[in-house]
Amino acid sequence: MKATQNLDAQDGFAMTFNKPNGWMNSFIPWILPALFFMGWFLVSRFEIIPAYLMPSPRQVGEAGVMYAFGTPGEGPYAGRFWVDAWVSCGRVLAGFSLAALFGIPLGVLSGRVDAMQKTLSTSINALRAVPGICWLPLAMVWFGIGYKTTLFLVALAAFFPIYINTAVGARQVSPLLFQAGAMLGVRRMNAVFSILLPGAMPSILAGLRLGLGISWAYLVLGELTGVPNGLGAVIMDARMLGRIDIIIVGIVLIALLGRTSDLLLSGVFRLCFKSARRLA
């Protein structure tokens, strides 16, 4: 008892740091962003980098407000955010859903069925080794510019992490749990839903989250090809008009949407599945 107390006293800093609700914990994540903003402010204040390359925080902030809340027609980008975000989110959702629709069942199959694993793994790993951007020219030839190409790129890129993580999770569910289930009267097919998927849930969710993150990356790639709207399109458009402030606004908004969608995904899974709530 005594020894532990002494240790705690010496390790005061570590203690605060590790406490789940310590003030340090809510403070620490903001240190880097704060430093970054200070640096940015100083750089533009003293014109170390010229404004046409790196606009000031204030200019970017104003551009952002204009982009999100301006009246359409007021300026080149005024008020476009909602349409762009809506379109982009729709594309991510569609591509990501497609990836999950194929990734989870195929992952489960190759995690549990040896023949399936042998059939799929070499081909899928070979495809996975191809950088996603290589598909862009082919996709543009096949699907033209716009929605279909974006969908294809997003679905393809998000598929691999979902498939691989699901397979790993499915493989790791202990055979003893299936025996226990069978002994308690679970039929073979029911075991997929009552034992396999819950048991593999942490991996499946990890795969989905990785896949969703990648979806946003490939969304932008798809939209850069020159579609009329979407966050990627805005960034591309702004580049041609030399509006660095809008490019930065676009980047920040994609980061925000990416993070929000990740939280939403985890939240929905926690809400819907005991296993996600209790294991992940």
């Binding site: 069978a182 002994m183 009267g185 005991k274």
Partner: protein
């Protein structure tokens, strides 16, 4: 013979009943990298209604394999295993297993684990039944805990409750208390005996622990290794509750120790 009959007082009709479990000339051969390996050879025994049978043997002698055949997880290579004269084909809730390892579903609470196999009841009936069995194993305050939040002994209680609730014809237990500390193990043995005294389950209990076998069993089958077969059968004629310190208890332990040690012809 007589000791086994007195376990079910007042059930005259069942005294003539056929054995619950009949294992005859059972063999199991595994194909391995270096040829076939005979793990069980000509295992032959019966278990009567309400009997507490222990199978005692050194590790690797095929105890788990025997239990896997009885549970229906493995098919015998030769011979038969009959549950009430029906051949055992696949696993099912009439032959419930308490495993050596922890096999609770980690995403379900204690209560949900216990209720897992219960079917065909209304929500309310199911809840009441679950609470009843939760209480039987002394875990009422822990019903909403997750498996990772409770101790090893408590997990075993849950494992026991989730099979007892299904009222299996036979209870198969594979070194269930092997991983517990000595004190918890004795608590669990006492719990199991008190439940058995109330409900007269038919139990096949596998162990490598001589003390445990003598404390629990009506009859002990001693298994030998390479190949796994039954070397000796000992009926434990001790009154219950049994005292480990008594000399008659110790005599049984010595006899079993000799039986396990004796080189087989």
């Amino acid at each position: 013979m007589t000791t086994q009959l007195k376990l079910i007082p007042g059930h005259k009709k069942e005294l003539q009943a056929p054995p619950v479990l009949q294992v005859s000339k059972l063999s199991k051969v595994f194909k391995t990298g270096d040829g076939p390996m005979t793990v069980l050879q000509d295992v032959h025994f019966q278990v009567a209604e309400g009997e507490f049978l222990c199978v005692l043997g050194p590790s690797g002698c095929g105890k788990t394999t025997l239990l896997n055949v009885l549970a229906g997880f493995e098919k015998p290579s030769a011979g038969k295993a009959l549950l009430e004269e029906t051949p055992i084909m696949e696993s099912g809730p009439d032959r419930c297993v308490v495993f050596q390892e922890d096999t609770l579903f980690p995403w379900l609470t204690v209560k949900e684990n216990i209720a897992f196999g219960v079917k065909g009841l209304s929500k309310k009936e199911k809840r009441e039944k679950t609470n009843h069995f939760l209480d039987l194993v002394g875990l009422t305050p822990f019903g909403d805990y997750l498996p990772r939040e409770i101790s090893g002994g408590m997990k075993k209680r849950v494992s026991l409750a989730r099979v007892l609730i299904l009222q299996p014809r036979i209870l198969l237990m594979d070194e269930p208390f092997g991983a517990l500390d000595a004190q918890t193990r004795e608590e669990m043995q006492d719990l199991l005996l008190s439940l058995w005294n109330q409900f007269h389950h038919t139990i096949v209990f596998i162990t490598h622990d001589i003390d445990e076998a003598v404390a629990l069993a009506d009859r002990i089958l001693v298994m030998q290794k390479d190949p796994g077969m039954i070397a000796k059968e000992i009926r434990v004629r001790l009154s219950r509750p049994r005292e480990r310190t008594e000399s008659s208890f110790q005599d049984y332990c010595k006899a079993l120790y000799q039986a396990l040690k004796k080189p087989q012809p």
